[in-house]
């Protein structure tokens, strides 16, 4: 995630991390004999979908302004 200098690849990496968390929830739910893990996965997926939609919109908006997807190009809000 920090190696790739591309905003879209960073978004995809976040998706992979959320998938790993989902898999952990389902595996633990199965091990404990409970359906709660699957229900939490539903919520995680919903939040991930919202995050991806807004993230992609922000990326498109940034690209329109700077014609670049390199995160280093957007340093205006850097501390």
């Amino acid at each position: 995630m920090f190696v790739r200098r591309n905003l879209i690849t960073i978004l995809l990496s976040i998706e992979i991390m959320l998938n790993a968390v989902n898999l952990t929830f389902v595996a633990f739910g199965r091990a404990l004999g409970s359906a709660d893990g699957q229900i939490i996965v539903f919520f995680v997926m919903t939040v991930a979908a919202a995050e991806a939609a807004v993230g992609l919109a922000i990326v498109i908006s940034l690209f329109r302004h700077r014609e670049s997807l390199n995160p280093d190009s957007f340093a205006a809000l850097k501390w």
Binding site: M1, V3, R4, N6, I8, T9, L12, S13, E15, I16, N19, N22, L23, V26, A27, G29, R30, A35, D36, G37, Q38, I39, V41, F42, F43, M45, T46, V47, A48, A49, A50, E51, A52, A53, V54, L56, A57, I58, V59, I60, S61, F63, R64, E67, S68, L69, N70
Partner: protein, 178 residues
Amino acid sequence: MLRSTCSAAVAVVASLLVIAQRNPIYSVLLLIASFGALSGLYVLLDAPFVAVDPDHRLRRRDHGAVPVRGDAAERAARGHRSSTSASIRCCGPAPMRFGALLALALVVELVVGADASAATPARFRRRRSARSRAIGRSLFTDYAFPFEVTSVLILVAMVGAVVLAQRDNPRDRRDRRV
């Protein structure tokens, strides 16, 4: 055991290749492969509902979760300027073949699934429906409030994505300057 090991291996390799690819388009295709392998793992873990969702989410995103005009999304995916002809070239034979392959896989899944559900013994069907009923009941009783909050979140995200992705109107820009 073998099936879960194979699915896990495919998921890990595809996830690693997502990061290794230079072209984001290939990264997205590999992410779909990773989601497919994860769906297999979810099925093996007795979570068929969860197995269905990632694929749908990804296919929805492929069709464009964010409504944008023009080819800005595609240009953004490539990370550099591109002409209209280049964007048409992206929808050439290879993606079309991949889409046809996905459609064929969907049809095969449906046919095999229908056959399998018909061949499943009644006691297993009952167990599966009992599990689905338990999940549905939990969602609408114990988790009713988070469910509603999530619905509002999706709505807000949808509106936010539309607002963020829309192109600036030149007239509005002129008004702001005045």
